[in-house]
Amino acid sequence: MTHRIKLILAGASALLALVAAGPSHADTTLSFLIDNNPDTVAAAEALVAAYQTKAPDVTIEIEQRPGGGEGDNIVKTRLATGEMSDVFLYNSGSLLQALKPAQTLVDLSGLASQAKVDEGFKSVVRADDKLYGVPFGTAMAGGILYNRKIYQDLGLSVPKTWADFMANNEKVKASGKVAVAQTYRDTWTSQLFVLADYYNLDAAVPNFAADYTANKAKYAETPAALKGFERLKDVHDAGLMNEDFGAASYDDGLRMVATGEAAHYPMLSFAVGALKQNYPENLNDVGFFAQPSDDAATNGLTVWMPPALYIPLTSQHTEEARKFVDFAGSVEACKIMVETNAVQGPSLIDGCDLPADVPPAIKDMLPYFEAKDKTTPALEFVSPIKGPALEQITVEVGSGIRQPADAAKLYDDDVRKQAKQLGLPNW
């Protein structure tokens, strides 16, 4: 309804503009749907403002939607009912595959900007050998945010092995601070120890992702896959967590690691954006390291790809939308977005270098990206399946309600359900 009102209003204002300016070429209004994360809004607004100076005959209206599962539903529903905006922002990887891109989205393989987009990113917006999206923002990584002041005060060094990590934790605990912040009020934050362990899993079992997708490998039957759950339990059993871990929120976690209440917070590096906004004076106290492994030699980073911009097949202004999206994927647009927001990781567009003054947490990530074989995309980008109940299961393991082996079995059931719903072969 509001959509229609907006259209009518847009039409009316276009008419007015025509009357006022006299006969000229017709204006186009593009609708652009994004999530309501403040970082996203700021980046999208900067992007649109920059584009409008280049193409004054195109008006772009930004619409916001909630994030998380609720936002997923809105995107899926609007796509299915043909009500999708001309351009929209959505996840890449397994969540994109659930939108059935080949049937619902415009092929963007031919855009000029694709030439400079990173190959790794292209693989997560590809379906049937066609590219359906351009990156929005930088890559990010899953690992552990740590408080550098605590590390300095206690003389700790960045751990590479799990044993070193636990030893650090014991020292932090002895000093009276919280060793590991956990925030299960926002259940999604509980998954990090499992998801960020994928580099280690991939190093130990290189064909896990393919076998897992083909229903040949299971979490419960792969000791290296079970490790993530066991690490969650280790931390709980050692009593390293904040007392109110069951009721603390993501914001609490950020506050704890930023202000030095807690030494570690397992998190995605996109948190740097929120840290910059909420705790700017503490931004330099927060560092980042990859999830420790069993062997110091194979320590590396699990990487998350940013979301992408897509055009639905139902768009009435495909040509204009393509031009806008092409601009969004350019080096120029990338630089605008990098300047607007806190950088979360390396850029995926060749020629769009990061500014020299990135926060320490981001600087800590760069060596992994510069070295060879020190990064791997997270499992949800190399396999179309991710069970929806993982966050509840990891809360249970992290709270000591369920044992790791049992949890892995339960997650395998959850994954089977997802695979069946996607109609994958072999399930």
């Binding site: 069951g246 509840q392 299961i393 809360v395 369920r402 359900k417």
Partner: protein, 292 residues
Amino acid sequence: MTETRPRSRKSPYPLWFFIPAAIIYGVLFLVPTVSSLWFSLTRWDLSTAEFIGLENFQQFFSEPFLVKGLLNTLIYAVTTSGLKTVCGLLLAVLLTSNIFARGFLRTLVFFPVLVSTIGIGITFTVMMHPTRGIINVTLETLGIPGPGWLTNPALALFSVALVDVWKGVGLATLIFIAGLAAISPDYYEAARIDGATRLQQFFRITLPLVRPATVIVVTLSLIGGLRSFDLIWAMTRGGPGFSSDVIASVIYKQYQAGFYGLSTAGNVILFALIAVIILPFTLWFNRREVEE
């Protein structure tokens, strides 16, 4: 219930008179019900629906947490409905007696009914915070270590149920007050002359005569309890883990994950469950009423 209309008498209204109502009923109730029965048999991604027979139901019943969700739903419904009935009746007796500021106190009891459930949920979540919440802070000053109201898996469901009772008891009280007002004062007068105590009056006169109100309160709160979702979602999201999941929240999670056919099947199951529990219950209560 007992009155029967002679079949032969023609309705004074022409048929077309019913058509607007029938259209509203058909579009808003009949079509969704029938189509949800159909979609529960499909793998549905909102644009295409592939018929897969009873697979969704099979999946739903093999869901490890369905059994737990089912049990939790029953525990929640019985707890809230029982407490609302008992507390509602007691409060109604109190608020119909000659006490000070009766009208104001009635308003006070009814007030939570008017507040948004989500608002109440968020408020109590803050109050029940294990270390910073006002409840545990108060308990601590008294020297009692407060439990993790919403974070202890054994306690979470009951904490939410208590909040639900607090929120819903005003409506039950209101219905009971109406029921009590319908009892003729003559009965109490006669009982007093016969020397009945207050307690005897309550059990021998009030309780039996307020039965119609009791039936309404129990039925409404039981149905409300069986399909309750908003308060649980606002306070615990079914957690920690799955410990306070009820059927409605399990269904919502399936919907959130994009399993539309599966979640529709869950709704059909919920519908059937409510019918199976409520139907015999109301039949039994109504029969008792007629017998008396």
